[in-house]
């Protein structure tokens, strides 16, 4: 994953925001949910992205005790994060079908 493009990183960031907007998750949980969605990335690649999203104040991480005992860092979306997710959604929707069409035509 790491040597692949900025584009993929941007999309992955959008997906992380989307998952966190639905529920509060910790790192491992997030990796599992991405995989359940069929987004197959190296599990570790989420941590640098989580750090970056925190730096940009799009998400907020907090260490607290989990139900099963040990401390875990749980992530929630900030209001800036919601705005960023909305922008991502719009960009994605406006690009999705034209790109699909273009690629389909190219393939036929």
């Amino acid at each position: 994953m790491n040597e692949r493009s900025q584009l993929l990183k941007g999309i992955l960031e959008g997906c992380i925001l989307a998952i966190i907007s639905r529920e509060t998750v910790y790192g491992y949980e997030l990796a599992v949910k991405l995989q359940q969605q069929g987004i197959d990335v190296k599990e570790g690649s989420i941590y640098p992205l989580l750090l970056r999203l925190q730096k940009e104040k799009l998400i907020h991480g907090e260490m607290r005790a989990s139900d099963s005992g040990p401390n875990r860092k749980y992530y929630t979306l900030t209001s800036a994060g919601e705005a960023s997710l909305e922008a991502f959604r719009q960009n994605w929707n406006s690009l999705k079908s034209p790109v699909d069409q273009l690629l389909d035509r190219g393939g036929s």
Partner: protein, 223 residues
């Protein structure tokens, strides 16, 4: 913050030999990036450790977490950590300077005093050129700072390389001891005398040295 470090120390024991090696290299590499926020650093290290422990339980390889190039991954993590010079690092830096000046001044003062009063090899007073003394001390501190920085970088560089750690630490230690000595000696030989001069008894240096050592001790207590 220390609770996270302690928790990390305990949890790390659950790793198997192979995972422990990779993880500890990661830990050293990331922690040695000392200009990063300490809280964020320890938190991400804990997240990675938790994740690795789960992989280990599931019988999966650490490569699924760190990729095929763990050093590159560590670099990526460090690159995203927020910049901050923690108070602790600043205090450590000041303490290092005080210890360096303290030991240097105290030992040279002591040796000169013994030679002068005990064996009458030296005069009991010495003429100090203030300009030379100050420039010399600043250069010494700068040399020490550069050296400490390069030792940090050197250890970082040596992470994820499978050579004997002990040999490398001894090597860095030697560098640490020899290099400042050479600088100080070079300054004695080549730095010209300039600035106003004062004549002081030779034990003066020892006394100033003790003052620096006390300051270093006090700084150390705060950390």
């Amino acid at each position: 913050m220390n609770t996270l470090v302690d928790e990390n120390n305990e949890k790390r024991e659950q790793l198997n030999v192979e995972n422990k090696k990779v993880y500890e290299d990661m830990l050293v590499y990331v922690r040695l990036s000392f200009d990063k926020s300490e809280a964020e650093t320890e938190e991400v290290l804990m997240e990675l450790l938790d994740h690795l422990l789960i992989l280990q339980e599931e019988g999966r390889d650490s490569r699924e977490l760190f990729g095929s190039d763990p050093k590159q991954y560590a670099r990526e993590i460090v690159g995203e950590l927020p910049q901050a010079l923690p108070k602790k690092v600043r205090a450590l830096f000041m303490m290092g300077i005080c210890y360096f000046l303290g030991f240097y001044l105290f030992t040279s003062g002591l040796i000169q005093t013994i030679l002068a009063y005990g064996f009458h090899h030296l005069e009991q007073t010495k003429t100090y050129s203030l300009g030379t003394t100050i420039v010399g001390l600043i250069m010494g501190v700068a040399a020490l700072a550069i050296l400490a920085y390069s030792v940090f970088r050197y250890i970082q560089w040596s992470c994820f390389r499978h050579t004997s750690k002990i040999k490398e630490y001894i090597l860095s230690g030697l560098m640490f001891a020899v290099f400042p000595g050479v600088i100080v000696l070079a300054m004695y030989l080549w730095l010209p005398s300039f600035g106003p001069t004062v004549v002081l008894p030779v034990y003066w240096m020892g006394i100033v040295g003790v003052v620096f050592l006390i300051m270093a001790k006090l700084l150390g207590r705060k950390i």
